[in-house]
Symmetry: C2
């Protein structure tokens, strides 16, 4: 499996944990070797594993949150690390995310996530179709 | 100067170019060795130097855009790379950004920028004061 495929696989694991509200899986996909950071929409930056994982516990326990799905994921290398940009669909809302990954013991783990409001990807097809 | 200081210096150079509407300085702070990516608020992801620099030319030429200032910048390492989270103040609006950097010929250059809407940092002081 190529590095790009492994990075996108790790990104899928993050969104699968999010969609399934599977906190142990969410704990597993986040770095344990580095203090991670996370910017949820409208939140201040969270720094360190305790703050970040506590935020995910609260989010995954929120029965009123919408289902989430990830589309348009694209992986890019950044030295030894990597990052992914993707759209997040939550009910009728669209967000766009940057997820930064670093390899730990051969597995790609998230060290940073930022998501913010976006237009529907369908409204931006013209722009994105020329990208690559 | 420590690596952290150099990364924050590069982040400042990005916002100084932005604030001064200095396109040559903006061209200089973005990677030339890697195809960069950029997510402006409400835009689809831009990929590659042409798309990214064309977007900055348009933004810096927009006479109606508000002045910008960066606060609360924090630098984090990611293997050989680094990223910065910071608030952006544009008029009465607040945004939050993730900027990813990689060193090229001894200088830190931006390879990715995402900015999205945020609450006023003053409204999140209680949360951020416990961060580090």
């Amino acid at each position: 499996m190529s590095d790009e495929a492994l990075i996108l696989f790790a990104n899928d694991a993050f969104y699968n944990a999010f969609a399934a509200r599977d906190f142990p899986a969410m704990e597993d996909i986040w770095t344990k070797d580095t203090e991670p950071t996370c910017v949820h929409p409208g939140w201040p930056p969270l720094v360190g594993r305790n703050q970040v994982m506590n935020s995910w516990r609260d989010i995954l326990n929120d029965d009123e949150s919408s289902p989430i799905a990830c589309t348009n994921a694209q992986a890019y290398r950044c030295g030894e690390g990597a990052y992914v940009t993707c759209h997040e669909h939550m009910g009728r809302s669209f967000l766009i995310a940057t997820n930064i990954f670093l390899r730990e013991n051969g597995q790609w783990k998230i060290i940073h996530h930022q998501a913010g409001a976006a237009l529907s990807p369908n409204r931006t097809t013209q722009a994105t179709s020329t990208l690559q």
